[in-house]
């Protein structure tokens, strides 16, 4: 896949959900978190998933990323169908093909910044591609912080380490779960800038769940979820257009 020319990659699908449903409980307590959602995430595209609380946006990401199981439908990462995988294979898939950025940074406090970045490859027992690693580190601007431990880094720096960790193993797709949720606006903008750059310059595929219109504006495309369904999609979004669209959920929520 690393050899695929950039031009082709823009058309190929990195991950695809087809008629994906996730249902919790049964009978009286039955809750439909995802209701037959079908969506494609194209390669080298930056997608934001938005929606009000309880819309199912996080659940969708978790299911597509192989972090959570689903009730019906199918999920593909590249050519791999997730529904048929056992926990062990799923773990291996996450390790080799997927990168993650979490809201709460989620670094190991005992490891240095560099060790945190190479952790997925250490787990896999692979040697990191040093030139690529260098590129990533330069991009997130951590070259002089590599031997620091997370406790010695600011929140923004910690999240940059998390971004670098996600990029370093060159995954097919990176999922971010509110990656700027715990950051001030300047640090958040930096992190989002890195993510956009990784898509534009390195051809990375990124899917991010957010409720912040400003964050969503960094994406190439925004998917809106409500009540477990995809209700809208927007390309080349701006903060204002996303905010307008989100406001409509609120009014609808109030009137209905």
């Amino acid at each position: 896949m690393t050899t695929t020319p950039l031009a082709d990659r823009t058309t190929a699908v990195a991950a695809r959900a087809t008629e994906l449903s996730k249902i919790y409980g049964a009978g009286e307590t039955r809750v439909v978190a995802l209701d037959q959602v079908t969506v494609d995430f194209r390669q080298a595209q930056f997608t934001a998933i938005m929606g009000p609380s309880g819309s199912g946006k996080s659940t969708l990401m978790h299911c597509v990323a192989g972090l959570d199981t689903f009730s019906a439908g199918s999920v593909r990462i590249g050519e791999t169908e997730l529904g048929s995988l056992k926990d062990k294979q799923l773990t291996k898939l996450r390790r080799d093909k997927i990168g993650f950025i979490f809201q709460a940074f989620n670094l190991l406090p005992t490891l240095t910044a560099l060790e945190n970045i190479t952790l997925p490859m250490d787990i896999a027992g692979r040697k990191p591609d040093l030139r690529w690693l260098d590129t990533v580190i330069q991009m997130v601007g951590l070259a002089d912080r590599l031997t620091h431990r997370p406790a010695q880094l600011s929140g923004g720096q910690q999240q940059r380490v998390a971004v670098a960790r996600a990029l370093a193993s060159r995954p097919d797709i990176i999922f971010g779960d509110e990656p700027t949720g715990n950051l001030d606006s300047r640090s958040g903008a930096e992190v989002l800038g890195f993510l956009r750059n990784s898509v534009r310059e390195l051809g990375q595929t990124v899917v991010m769940v957010t409720h912040d219109p400003v964050a969503a504006a960094y994406a190439d495309r925004v998917i809106f979820l409500a009540d477990g369904r995809i209700v809208d999609e927007m390309h080349e979004p701006t903060a204002d257009s996303v905010l307008d669209r989100m406001k409509r959920f609120d009014t609808k929520g109030r009137t209905s």
Partner: protein
């Protein structure tokens, strides 16, 4: 505040479980010990009091000290005296008591009981009130008749009319059983056997012809024990005998039993104390972690106006509740343990007199106090720390990171303690024997405290040393190593708990092993005899035995070892009589100076005795013998003593010349050399020559060293069993620490799972952390144990020339493996829990 504390306990049930278990184990050990010892001593006291029912006043022979160079003849209780006592005003009847050792064989020819409890005695007249005869029997008469106690008869299946094999001090007798009797004798109640002859036979067999060991006088109706005693004191010369009332005898026996039980009790309580001490580490660890996890909550309490004292108190109330629950369950378990120990003693052959389980109020109060106080004491420091949380911490978004607060003060203190400890122990090793014991103990305690305090510091380099090994396990190994040094205090407390047990176990093993080899070497090096023949219970042998052995086929040399009292320079000295012609061929004792020559006036003296009297080869001294004769003896040589031979050795022939005709020589043991060396056939021949006597053992050199080894193994196994409790508590500690660590790090674990570490990897990570902590404790414990074993050995070496430090490498390897097994075992549950964590909730949970 109390309600908050109670809610906290309920909310953290699972996390407090290990703490409760640890305290519970310690408390149950304490209360089990108390219940057991109280029950046993109560039962023994009741049974022994019954044994004195028939005695109103006991007359015992007096003691006259030796004077000058002669042996004083001791007063005897004669039949005349008995007649006199019987005629005293207020006396109804008197019984002359004769007692000694009588080994009974069961129908297979094996000794009944352990040998030490095989008693013999006399049946008084035709109707002895002490021993009621069961239906169908009659009093034994003459040397071919015997009565045995009903317990023994039942155990071995003997009936009236059967013949039984029996030996007193040599020849085997085969009398007919004429009676089976019941008795309250305490020794029989405790599983011993009792065989009775008529009085004349008993006196002859037990070398008490014409005398009694004791005279029991029964008071006539209306006469009190004290009155009878006063009456007897008037007619019995004071220097011949002393009188004691039955009540006094019972009381003094009760005191004696209580004293011997209290020794056992304090011994067991020491081990219970060790287990509880180890438990305090777990309690302290648990509460430290609970406080750390609740930082925000506690800060909130402070922010809304709770005082520092209230916060501390809330933690202490929590500890109180935990301690109380643990103490109550521990007490219940302890009562069970007490009952189980009693029945265990029963199955091991040591019959304990029946009696109710004694649960005294003292036991209950002690158990409850110990459980509650230990828990609160251990939780006190974490409680203080909780109070120091500033109210502003409530506003922080993250709960407090585990601190690696400066350990400078701690390390300095630890180094001081450890340094002082090592110095004191080393100083003690240069001292002489018993003088060194106190400084050695003080030094050991100081060093252990020092190492405790230093464990956080030691954890880093020691665990780093394990890094190359852990690297094999990839990321899991690396993470495990880093996690284990992440909170040095917690790791240290957990490892220390294990360290204590292993220090003690290793120290004991090193010492016992070294001692065993030293004693074994002594015996093996110094003896050339093929066999040593002795009584199974250490009693004396009749000289007949040596004669029979000397006459046996294939026997070339024999020598008995005979004790004889003598007076040398106004002191009482025990001489050892040997066969002067043979002793040189039977032993190989290192000679310091002179020559090893025993015969006529020539004697050899061991180095200690020679030093005491200032003798060298050629020195002369005069010995006074029993009966008053004296002889001038010459020191031919000075030798190194050992376990079997010590003191002044002289020829039995020389001894015999001086002993009065009335004296009854008896041998401690007989050494035998055969022409063909030791073999099963030779042993059989010797045993046959002795008439297959059940009470006499024929041992070759291997048997002797096996005997010594068996003794040490038994002792070690008992210590291992007792120390196992401390190790179990330590295992609970490891489980506790891991479970809490997993809980604290659930977010990290969730992340690791998300980015691709599989369940196996997570499990391995937790297991390896556990292994690292356990091995850390194990290495420290074994190291300290070896040091203490060596140091204590240095003290012993001063007294034992053959003492040499023997490091039990295999055992030490086993201990290390055991520590590793503890680690793996303790990690089972926490590792599984970690692997099962729900990734998504783990990541989200802040």
């Amino acid at each position: 505040m109390f309600r908050t504390a109670l809610r906290n306990v309920l909310a953290h049930k699972a996390r407090l479980l290990m703490t409760v278990l640890a305290v519970m184990l310690g408390v149950s050990f304490v209360s089990g010990t108390l219940v057991f010892t109280n029950t046993i001593s109560d039962a023994f006291q009741k049974s022994s009091a019954k044994g004195f029912d028939h005695v109103d006043v006991a007359i015992e022979p007096g003691y006259r000290p030796d004077e000058g160079d002669s042996i004083t003849e001791q007063p005897k209780l004669t039949p005349e005296l008995l007649k006199k006592a019987e005629g005293a005003p207020g006396a109804e009847s008197a019984i002359g008591v004769v007692s000694g050792f009588a080994a009974l064989a069961d129908k297979d020819g094996k000794l009944i009981g352990g040998g030490f409890q095989s008693q013999g005695g006399n049946y008084w007249g035709t109707d002895d009130p002490r021993y009621p005869i069961e239906d169908g029997g009659r009093a034994p008469k003459g040397e071919n008749e015997i009565a045995i106690d009903s317990e023994t008869a039942e155990r071995a299946g003997y009936k009236v009319g059967d013949t039984i094999r029996l030996s007193v001090d040599g020849p085997v007798l085969t009398p007919t059983i004429t009676a089976i009797f019941t008795t309250d004798d305490g020794n029989v109640a405790a599983g011993g056997s009792l065989a009775l002859f008529d009085t004349a036979t008993a006196q002859r067999l037990f070398h008490m012809t014409g005398e009694y060991g004791e005279i029991d006088v029964k008071a006539a109706a209306g006469t009190s024990q004290a009155q009878l005693r006063a009456a007897l004191d008037k007619i019995i010369p004071a220097d011949t005998a002393s009188t004691t009332t039955g009540r006094q005898l019972a009381d003094s026996q009760a005191t004696q039993i209580a004293a011997s039980m209290s020794g056992m009790k304090s011994g067991l309580l020491v081990f219970a104390g060790i287990a509880l001490f180890v438990g305090t580490f777990i309690i302290a660890n648990t509460f430290t972690m609970l406080v750390a996890q609740r930082t925000k909550e506690l800060a909130l309490l402070r922010a809304v106006g709770a005082s520092r004292r209230q916060v501390t108190r809330s933690v202490l109330i929590e500890a109180f509740v935990v301690g109380a629950v643990a103490a109550v369950t521990g007490l219940a378990a302890g009562i069970g343990i007490g009952a189980a120990m009693r029945s265990l003693m029963g199955t091991l052959g040591a019959t304990v007199p029946a009696g109710p389980l004694v649960i005294s109020p003292g036991t209950v109060v002690t158990a409850l106090l110990v459980g509650v106080l230990i828990t609160m004491l251990a939780a006190w420091l974490p409680g203080r720390r909780a109070a120091k949380i500033p109210p502003v911490a409530a506003m922080g978004s993250m709960h407090a990171q585990a601190t690696t607060r400066s350990l400078v003060v701690r390390n300095t203190l630890g180094a001081l303690f450890a340094g002082a400890g090592i110095a004191t122990v080393l100083y003690a090793t240069t001292m002489n024997g018993s003088d060194g014991q106190v400084p050695m103990g003080v030094g050991a305690v100081l060093l252990i405290i020092g190492v405790f305090v230093l464990t956080p510091l030691l954890s880093r380099p020691l665990i780093a040393a394990a890094a190359p090994l852990l690297r094999v396990f990839g990321v899991s190994g690396k993470l495990a190593r880093q996690n284990s040094v992440r909170n040095p205090r917690r790791t240290a407390a957990t490892a220390s708990a294990l360290m204590i047990g292993l220090t003690l176990i290793t120290g004991m093993t090193v010492m016992a092993g070294s001692l065993q080899s030293a004693i074994g070497k002594m015996a093996a090096d110094a003896i050339k005899a093929d066999y040593v023949v002795s009584m199974a219970n250490g009693n004396l042998l009749s000289p007949d035995v040596e004669k029979k052995l000397a006459a046996a086929e294939g026997v070339t040399d024999t020598s008995s070892l005979r004790n004889a009292e003598s007076r040398i320079g106004g002191e009482t000295e025990y001489l050892t009589g040997v066969n002067g012609a043979a002793i040189g061929k039977l032993t190989d004792l290192p000679v310091d100076n002179g020559t090893f020559k025993v015969g006529g006036a020539d004697v050899v003296v061991d180095a200690d005795t020679a030093a005491r009297y200032g003798w060298k080869a050629g020195a002369e001294f005069t010995a006074g013998f029993e009966g008053g004769e004296k002889q001038k003896l010459t020191v031919a040589g000075v030798y190194e003593s050992n376990e079997l031979l010590r003191g002044i050795l002289l020829d039995n022939a020389t001894l015999d010349e001086h002993l009065p005709a009335s004296s009854d020589p008896a041998d401690m043991m007989v050494m035998v050399k055969t022409s063909a060396g030791a073999s099963d056939a030779a042993k059989d021949r010797l045993e046959q020559a002795l008439g297959e006597n059940p009470a006499i053992q024929v041992q070759d050199r291997q048997d002797l060293s096996d005997d010594i080894a068996r003794m040490f193994t038994l002792m070690l196994n008992m210590l291992y069993g007792l120390l196992a409790m401390a190790v179990i508590v330590a295992v609970l500690g490891v489980i506790n620490t891991l479970a809490m660590s997993v809980f604290e790090r659930s977010q990290e674990i969730g992340m690791l799972r998300a980015i691709g570490l599989d369940r196996r990897g997570i499990k391995r990570m937790v297991r390896l952390e556990s292994l690292v902590i356990s091995l850390f404790g194990g290495v420290l414990g074994i190291g300290l144990g070896v040091f203490f074993g060596w140091a204590a050995g240095e003290l012993l070496a001063a007294k034992m020339p053959t003492y040499e430090l023997v490091l039990p490498w295999t055992r030490m390897a086993v201990f290390l493996l055991m520590a590793a097994a503890v680690g793996v075992l303790a990690a089972l549950w926490p590792a599984r829990r970690a692997a099962k964590l729900n990734m998504l909730t783990a990541i989200k949970s802040e």
